[in-house]
């Protein structure tokens, strides 16, 4: 009896479509969110994350509608976020059918947002998303989709976020994101050692070996990927069988 390592497909959505960027830029259409969600639910995904990557004010209603439609397709946990600035924004995505809400830029700018969400919905519903880039010798938190340095040290911010009530850390390596060069296992292990909550590794997944490495040396509790699943390059079922065969505890669907 062991807590399974989770495989989490991520849908980046813009105006009701799933898109994919490379190193946080140049978007490409990857399909319909409902169809992809239904497919991942069927293939044995352990969870799904839906991120509003436009997060413009006028795009809010469209995003909430996407959350609502995706929720109908799932019988697995579902996290939504992107542009969550206030308690009401979090409430809106949870009411639309998400189980957890993820915060990023707004939490860096006003860390009380994490405590407010955790007090209202519980820590298990609050995922702190951090976009991290190596600068000189340090790992630094970047905001606004990776465009701007926050000046915060990644490990210190992770600790503060957890102290304020975040129940999970979604850790994205900006250096690796969209590059297909593997997860940043050094970064993931460094953050996982600092916090008492689960860490979801993100950015750079390409091969089955990348997942094996991030659950091993990376010490990740969960691993997230987008494009390699969207393009059906890898099926989630095949990935999990591979991991199970190498001693990683995973939930195999039957």
């Amino acid at each position: 009896m062991t807590l399974a390592r989770r495989i989490i497909p991520c849908l980046d959505v813009d105006a009701g479509r799933v898109v994919k960027g490379v190193e946080f830029a140049s978007l490409r259409d990857m399909g319909d969110p409902e169809e992809l969600a239904a497919r991942y639910n069927r293939e044995g995904a352990d969870e799904l994350i839906l991120l509003d990557i436009t997060a413009s004010r006028d795009g809010r209603a469209t995003f909430l509608d996407t959350v609502r439609r995706v929720a109908q397709q799932l019988n697995i946990p579902f996290t939504a976020g992107g542009g969550i600035r206030r308690l009401e924004d979090g409430n809106a995505v949870l009411r639309a059918g998400a189980d957890k809400v993820t915060v990023n830029t707004a939490a860096v700018e006003r860390p009380e947002l994490i405590s407010e969400l955790a007090a209202q919905f519980g820590s298990q519903a609050v995922v702190l998303s951090m976009d991290v880039k190596k600068t000189n010798a340090a790992w630094e938190v970047f905001i606004r989709g990776g465009a701007e340095s926050s000046g915060r040290d990644a490990a210190a911010w992770a600790r503060e976020g957890v102290a304020r009530g975040a129940g999970e850390i979604l850790l994205t390596s900006i250096d690796r994101d969209g590059t297909c060069s593997g997860f940043d296992c050094g970064l993931t292990a460094a953050i996982a050692a600092q916090v008492s909550v689960p860490v979801i590794a993100s950015g750079g997944a390409k091969t089955f070996e990348d997942f094996l490495a991030v659950f091993g040396e990376g010490q990740a509790d969960a691993a997230l990927a987008a494009s390699i699943f969207h393009t059906a390059e890898h099926s989630i079922g095949a990935l999990k069988k591979y991991l199970a065969g190498r001693g990683v505890p995973v939930r195999l669907s039957r």
Binding site: M1, L3, R251
Partner: protein, 201 residues
């Protein structure tokens, strides 16, 4: 059959409702005590904070109605916080009283394990279970909680280990409850809900 779902003003109600309906049940959301009195089967869903749950029940005058209905033998299924609310009190909210149907307390998960306990875990069956009927022994269920009730007789039918062995499936007389989220636990989770519906018939 019709399932009355307690709506205390927060939580995972829509996904529980959708799952029960997909399995063929009718559902009604309960916000008033007279609805509880008319119910033949109850579901007590919940996520979030213990005090929000018990306060929400109190503000809607549901506490006494629920205690009366459950003591009177009506089939009930508690989910996550709904399991914890059946107990006397919780370390999460010292001073707040639960439904006090079972006279034990809810404890915090120890600090030597990751908390919240989030993710898919397996169960250790302690006896024959109604809710787990025909579900494979190695099935995984989705947990998301920081507090739990120590596994013990006579209520625990299956335990899960995270820091200590806690009650994952509780079955005592007409009271059924699960610490995991069956509505979010894929096919195995929906099977648990189906087993509850069949038993509550």
């Amino acid at each position: 059959m019709k399932i009355f779902i307690i709506d205390y003003g927060a939580g995972n109600l829509p996904s529980v409702e959708r799952a029960l309906r997909s399995l063929g049940a009718e559902t009604e959301c309960v916000t008033r005590p007279e609805q509880v009195a008319a119910a033949r089967a109850l579901v007590l869903p919940g996520v979030g904070h213990f005090s929000a749950f018990v306060t929400g029940l109190r503000e809607r005058n549901l506490t006494a109605a629920l205690q009366h209905a459950i003591a009177g033998g009506i089939p009930v299924l508690g989910i996550c916080l709904g399991l914890q609310a059946m107990f006397s009190a919780s370390a999460e909210a010292p001073g707040e009283q639960g439904l006090d149907l079972i006279h034990e307390n809810v404890q915090a998960l120890p600090t030597n394990v990751k908390s919240p306990h989030i993710g898919w875990n397996q169960l250790r069956r302690l006896r024959k279970s109604i809710l787990l009927r025909e579900i494979p022994h190695d099935a995984y269920f989705y947990f998301a909680h920081s507090y739990a009730v120590a596994a013990s007789e006579p209520h625990t039918a299956a335990a899960c280990d995270h820091g200590f062995p806690f009650a994952a499936v509780l079955e005592q007389d007409n009271m059924m409850a699960v610490q995991f989220h069956p509505e979010k636990s894929g096919d195995a989770g929906w099977h648990v809900l189906r087993n509850f519906l069949e038993w509550a018939q």
